[in-house]
Amino acid sequence: MIGEKTTEPLWWGLFSAGGVIAAFLVPIHILIAGFAVPLGWISDTGILYRNWSVRIYLFILISLPLYHWAHRFYFAVNDMHLGVPRKPLALLCYGGAVIGTLITAWVLLRL
């Protein structure tokens, strides 16, 4: 990666924060959004997403685990020895997380 040595702590910090968010917050959201709402156990018309605190929370909930994905996926693909070149892979993973963050912000601002 470009500037690998100087930016590594940043990516590792984002990975770590994303891992915490994914571990503590994501399972209950899977239960709510993946089961409770679709199966009609809880009715939800999306009114709560007008709340700004909810939107800021969602920004953290969605964006940080993307960096957790980027870091783990990058190293997992490297460790698998599939012969994927490192630099394009790093660009895809970390760049993907950055673009995902921007899209998340854009969507949440438009709700």
Binding site: G19, V20, A22, A23, F24, L25, V26, P27, I28, H29, I30, L31, I32, A33, G34, F35, V37, P38, L39, G40, I42, S43, D44, T45, G46, I47, L48, Y49, N51, V54, L58, L61, I62, P65, L66, H68, W69, H71, R72, F73, F75, A76, D79, M80, H81, L82, G83, G100, I103, T104, V107, L108, R110, L111
Partner: protein, 137 residues
């Protein structure tokens, strides 16, 4: 670190097959833990797509949620949930190793730190559920 890097062509690289992680259960579990992040990210992307339906109004949002009740999506979310729970558990386990808690002279047993993490996780999950129910209108 100063000094020059050794010439790459002179370094010895051991050949590793692309399927090494299938050869031992512990290797496979490691890879599954790493890949849990893929499923968690996929779930969040789909959740974001569902939220983006609100730009077109509540009707689009509700009908998107109804589509997620099909058996295929329920199966998908079951797989995602299993991976997410595996991530949570392995994360708490490594937290106990990376961030040991010291009380006076003694180190808190790892099992205790894992139990505290699980307790905090249950509490946080209940608070989110409660807040969701309170705010959803």
């Amino acid at each position: 670190m100063s000094g020059t890097r050794p010439d790459k062509s002179k370094l010895y690289y051991q050949k590793v097959s692309a399927t090494w992680w299938l050869k031992k259960p512990s290797y496979l579990l490691f890879m599954l833990r790493e890949l849990s992040s893929v499923f968690i990210a996929l779930f969040l992307v789909i959740y974001l797509i569902q939220l983006s339906q609100l730009i077109d109004g509540p009707q689009a949002y509700v009908s998107f949620a109804q589509k997620l009740s099909s058996p295929g999506w329920i199966l998908f979310h079951l797989v995602v949930l299993a991976f997410a729970l595996y991530h949570s558990f392995t994360w708490f386990k490594s937290t106990a190793v990376i961030l040991p808690i010291r009380i006076g002279e003694r180190l808190l047993p790892r099992e205790m730190i894992i139990a505290l993490n699980i307790g905090a996780w249950v509490l946080v999950s209940l608070v989110i559920l409660f807040l969701f129910l309170a705010l959803k209108g």
